[in-house]
Symmetry: C2
Subunit: 476 residues, 2 copies
């Protein structure tokens, strides 16, 4: 980085004094951009820039290129792997999408929503909902995370089983490239085979190839009738079987299929006021299956009963309750309270793994055996999107033991899980991405050919290695 003062002057020329935050001058405001929302990752930015338009982003990136400065794109800063946080060098420029907040277009006939990257996911959901349509990306951080961040991390959430991950919903992108050129790929087409599908490069690239500034999202028909089943299961294998039955009976109307281990449910009941497990603690796993129909007069309760009958015939569940309205919301509160509840039980070791559906039960059993050898009594707070083969396979210390002892064992416990992920052909980051947190662990499990291909893509689009260096791939 040639001269910080010259770069600052150049950026102020683009976005004005109020659009550039400078260390030592704006430290209070700067702090929220230097660390992630949870406070798990912190760095030291050279500057934070707040452009308001795509043209300003382009001019900012041209200035950074001219001065050889590295760029860290940042959305709502809710990522779990440190992908949007600058490093500690004090040389990286954070380019925030906070001011890119326009809803550019809502095309009801085409069922598409075009928004700028800084639009908060919940606001995008609301814009779609106001037109009677559904933006089916649904996740815990939706009140703060941005559409740009969701795209950059190919975020998942609880609607993936029915609607796919973010990638499946992105029809078009506008991206500012590392050299400041703008790629206008904002097409609202469901089919376009005119060459390489360039938007796929940027979805899930975690800002290492460019800055996503606007997105065309495919909307879905609104779900008008919902019903939930809370089921007691004696194994994960039963959950996978029940998933198959649910898809046979209800097809794509199976909106979500979540599971929760007994320890994860117990923690919620202990720490989140007002929660209740309708089936009690004796089931090693409980499932939350949501069915949803678009037709306002659909009899989803009858659909749920048909599913229960078919599942009972196949011995796939031990007990079940059916819920709608506020009762269904209460079941979701139980599921969504796990992350918060686990924080009350000391440090939590978080993992986000996926394996093929048929391997899930084997994978978890193998992990249980390995974990018991390393730390008897460790609590397996496993929960998540079993419908996608995705478990948040978190761990908490045995009750009454020391935090420090647990943390000292943490790398070894993670190793036990990751070795089983590899043995079962799975992924150590199903939906959270790599950032810096999982970059090296992922590289350890990838082939040389795969890493070479990733590096070739990086070099092709960002030859100087200035876009979010050190994220996804080690800086070269």
């Amino acid at each position: 980085m040639a001269d910080p003062d010259l770069l600052r002057t150049a950026l102020v020329d683009v976005v004005g004094e109020r659009g550039v935050l400078v260390p030592g001058v704006h430290d209070d405001r700067l702090a929220t951009y230097a660390a992630d929302w949870r406070g798990a990752y912190a760095g030291r930015p050279a500057l934070v820039v707040l452009p308001s338009t795509t043209d300003e982003v382009a001019a900012v990136l041209r200035a950074c290129a001219a001065h050889g400065a590295a760029v860290v794109p940042q959305g709502g800063n809710t990522g779990l792997c440190g992908g949007a946080v600058p490093d500690a060098s004090g040389t990286q420029v954070v380019v925030s999408t906070d001011r890119l907040r326009a809803v550019r277009d809502l095309d009801v006939a085409n069922r598409t929503l075009t928004v700028e990257a800084g639009v908060v996911l919940a606001d995008a959901q609301a814009a779609a909902g106001a037109a009677g349509l559904l933006l089916p990306l649904t996740m815990g951080s939706q009140g703060r995370c941005t559409v740009g961040g969701v795209v950059a991390t190919n975020a998942g959430g609880t609607g993936v089983l029915r609607y796919g991950s973010t990638r499946a919903l992105v029809l078009g992108l506008e991206v500012v490239l590392p050299d400041g050129r703008v790629w206008d790929g904002l097409r609202g087409l469901r089919k376009d085979n005119t060459g390489y599908d360039l938007k796929q490069l940027f979805v899930g690239a975690e800002g290492t190839l460019g800055v996503v500034t606007a997105v065309v999202l495919a909307l879905q028909p609104a779900v008008r009738r919902r019903v939930g089943l809370w089921v007691g299961l004696d194994s994960l294998a039963a959950a996978v079987g029940l998933l198959g039955t649910a898809r046979e009976v209800a097809g794509e109307r199976v909106t979500a299929f979540e599971v929760m281990s007994a320890p994860s449910r117990a923690m919620v009941l202990d720490h989140v006021p007002g929660t209740r497990d309708p089936l009690g603690p004796e089931h090693p796993w409980c499932g939350l299956v949501e069915l949803g129909d678009t037709a306002p007069d659909a009899d989803v309760e009858a659909l749920a009963e048909r599913l229960l009958t078919a599942a009972a015939e196949r011995d796939q569940l031990v007990d079940a309750v059916v819920a709608t309205g506020p009762q269904l919301d209460a079941l979701w509160a139980l599921r969504e309270g796990i992350s918060e509840a686990q924080n009350h039980e000391g440090p939590s070791l978080k993992h986000d793994v996926s394996v093929a559906l048929g391997s899930m039960a084997d994978y978890v059993a193998a992990c249980d055996a390995g974990l018991a050898r390393e730390l008897p009594g460790v609590r397996v707070v496993a929960y998540g999107h079993v419908g996608d083969g995705n478990l948040h396979h978190n761990l908490s210390k045995p009750p009454g033991t020391d935090d420090a002892d647990f943390l000292a064992l943490a790398p070894r416990l993670t190793e036990v899980l990751y070795a089983q992920v590899a043995a079962h052909g799975g992924s150590i980051s199903a939906e959270h991405g790599l950032g810096t947190a999982k970059r090296d662990a992922a590289a350890a499990y990838k082939s040389d050919v795969e890493l070479d291909l990733m590096r070739a893509v990086k070099r092709a689009i960002d030859p100087d290695g200035r876009m979010n260096p050190g994220k996804v791939l080690a800086a070269s």
Copy 2:
């Protein structure tokens, strides 16, 4: 290309004498690899190689690399844009996937099918069907096209509305890279965010980045109950409106939504024996809407009636019939007979365009006006996947006029359509790809930034430009 004899010897070492076809020696067998299935594109291969395993493909590509030979990957050779045909230079080596025919794995619990590239699509469908599951890729060429070709062209077909294009169904790939290294990305995971999603590079790249040798496909629950609606529509706008109503009433159970202009229906009735239009010729457009439910006891006829009632309330259709079983098959025969019927009416000018759903009616009206100026009486044989915004916007000469006059005007007529595609933000190849046929036309409508990005991707993966040169992008 250094020395053809040395290359031939090297390839015979890999696949044996019977696996290498040589011009002047095996001309009869060679002919089917030198031209596409329709006979629209023909070239002159240096050699045709028929490897039987991924290792043999790798060794073949290493030999081609060592001898500086260009490689043309070829599947069922049914592509419509010349993407799998060698050029006329006599220097390109066709690598056929004919002998890569193994079904490697059918994982019922995971709902995935792993097949080698040369498996014919219909055989892959049958393998899934034997396990009670559905491979929802459905297209006219399915009895001959291969899974590898389907992946390489990101093929569409009649199930895209419900299930997405090929890209949406590919979970993993095995690819031999231009230098002969093998990328094993054959994972059967629905979620994997560990870095760049490399498989996206190869889906739809038309063999310009490597040879796809095996694929993991996501299967769907079988559709057990089907019903079709044949509807008379007074405009394309009505079709788009009806599509929205259908998605509200039936959600994802809308499997297909096809339209046919009056001239296209008339040609089928004239030329395909046994066809009948249940509504007669007075409707400018007819639609074929198929609803399908996975549950064996689903009352799809009642669902169809609910859709008709809702559509009638919104004045979206003029007339309709409901059909199941053989009657529904007969409606599909009417739809699928168009391509053959058009061949009886002289030369047909084929286009495969997409625009945003809300723009379709405007787009077609603007084209009609332009076409009438260029060639009064031209017959617009427009039909296709209106549910995806995709029309096969074909043209036939006015009755009783000369083929030669029509063909002389062809470039101008195509220009009229493509100008309107551009004006409406659409695509000139929704599902057929570029090959050589549309390569330059697509380039003319793309921005410099977009073309630069495409070339950067090509250089990154195929730095010597030996993979299917001249397809998708002009050879550099």
